[in-house]
Symmetry: C2
Subunit: 408 residues, 2 copies
Amino acid sequence: MPVNLSAPQAHELKPIAGLKLGIAKAEIRKPDRKDMLVMHLAQGSRVAGVFTTNKFCAAPVTVCREHLASQQPIRALLVNTGNANAGTGDQGWQDAKQSCQALAQLLDIAPEQVLPFSTGVILEPLPMDRLLAGMPACVANLDENHWLDAAESIMTTDIVAKAASKQIQIDGVTVTVTGISKGSGMIHPNMATMLGYVATDAKVSQAALDKMVRDAVNRSFNCITVDGDTSTNDAFILIATGQADHAEIDTHSAGYQVLSQAICDIAIQLAKAIVRDGEGATKLMTIQVEAGRDEQECRQIAYAIAGSPLVKTAFFASDPNLGRILAAIGYAGISDLEVDKLKLYLNDVLVAENGGRAASYTEQQGAAVMQQAEILVRVVLNRGTAQATIWTCDFSYDYVKINASYRS
Amino acid sequence: MPVNLSAPQAHELKPIAGLKLGIAKAEIRKPDRKDMLVMHLAQGSRVAGVFTTNKFCAAPVTVCREHLASQQPIRALLVNTGNANAGTGDQGWQDAKQSCQALAQLLDIAPEQVLPFSTGVILEPLPMDRLLAGMPACVANLDENHWLDAAESIMTTDIVAKAASKQIQIDGVTVTVTGISKGSGMIHPNMATMLGYVATDAKVSQAALDKMVRDAVNRSFNCITVDGDTSTNDAFILIATGQADHAEIDTHSAGYQVLSQAICDIAIQLAKAIVRDGEGATKLMTIQVEAGRDEQECRQIAYAIAGSPLVKTAFFASDPNLGRILAAIGYAGISDLEVDKLKLYLNDVLVAENGGRAASYTEQQGAAVMQQAEILVRVVLNRGTAQATIWTCDFSYDYVKINASYRS
């Protein structure tokens, strides 16, 4: 069961002026579930995106990159679940292009103004007939208030729909940021099998939007891992419709920090929701590595801990078998690691120092922390001022069960 | 259950002249199981070793390195299971030193002539009283024919004892190579949580032995992975007692290749036995990446596939969800990977080419291969002549079960 995560209420998700969402049940893979989403953006909207680093990236990712590079203003996003259109070769690319064309026709825009996204099974052809058949229903369904439906429509093995919303003031004007995400397996940064869409009605220059999307992703979706698998289809998209009545925000504007922080907050909430809903997750672990020489070594150690199946199964078992954390720190690849200097804490409990178990540590202390649903693993390297934080979940029978039967 | 692996018969394991093995039940962690081993080497023996790269390496690993560096001829090895003496700080180092001292006294040699090894739980102090109490029993038990007992005495979560033996001819003289290994979790190269000991009665120069140990480890124990965790305690030791009646083998001798190959064969058999007995394993997968630019890129891709929990759970489920393999290839970190050029085979079945599913491929073909207990995953990069082979196992409910309850 997801860790301290429940779906938001529809009314908690504030609409974004200039952005309408339309959902359909197109039976892409399974009957009677929402599996298609169209987002329609008003004229004047700006879009920025970050995509998977996987070299076997899916056809829609390639098409997204092409369309964003074409410099034509993006006016619509098309998302399907049930099929990833990845590992589909040239046919996959043609299918993605054709679906953009079809939607463009319905919305009276150019095909290059559409960004396509797919998530689901890899290596199977996209069922174009069903996708095309579902499009008119999506368009007929377009509405500013469909955020919760939209969050539900992009779920795959997700148990809980992921969405968040927040409002801030810029120049005395209320600005809204609302986002949705999906993903719970094949989750690893750069990027995870995850789709994330955050929209705001703020007026933002393209340069500022490009910077915000990178900052947000680096502090959120690129700080989570479920199973270390980086998917072929990941994308994080930031949309600014520009409908709010304030002066345009550029990278040096006073409003930049406020808006960027609000977008980060939403992105972090959406990213952590993915970990809370990690396949088979029963616990959320925050891995915080502090006082390192640089952020890179902190991240490396945090990921070694977060990625260790032995550490993750120990957390699942609530077993304070904490030597496994030390072992993971040891193989993180930091060649001059000073093992005698570092301290390991579980929440507030000092577990290890001077290269071994802390004299004050008792098994009872460790066991008490391990019972909790949210646990902080803190490694203090004591050799610098850099830090990094990674969120991950434990590794349970259900992870194996879900992934051994995903297609059936 | 281990994949096509059963324990050898005692009589299949040929003794090595000049090497005696003594076993005891010392109750290091659990009652009534063989958990201590002493190997006593005749004068004139030579020893070479390779150890874990984990920075949090265990105290006995540190002591082994010190004693090998001291240049005194190694005359005894001491192994205990049940406790790894890792993450035990200065006390751990003192305990390892003291245990060498105690054994040295019993065998009338210097403490620096003893190599200590420990495997088991991390972060708990070594129970010195029990270890010291068990030593006289080990010494009293010393015998050239105790190889199978020795293999059993070093098991932790292993289900099957791992040992192998083979004889070759050098200068018309019969030379024997016999080895044992242990390990089934925390298995990843450089090195795995594994202990491996291979001995021969061949007469070998130190330089040749040092080269053979590296060659053997690089082609065997450094080519396996179960869960990607590199342990704190791994060691691979090669012993040559020099009792066989042939001219000493140096790196350029005619006999070098023959002996080195025999040692490699035994090391590969022992390493694959670890994967066959991988925690929860139901299948053995050989990941072969061919026609790459260099060995490094082949290894990187092979490890990405072998390390992916999604790939491993699909194999467990016998589900030909083969897109997961493409995804793993894609995130292996090869920046200029040519996805359109590569071909993916499952045994003899061509699965993917031209960046997508092969036209000839059918789900039935994939499903038929996935049913088998031993599967070859072949990736042909078609851009060079290098290749690499990695062995791994699938990821099952039992992996989680074993590791969620290891200490209890």
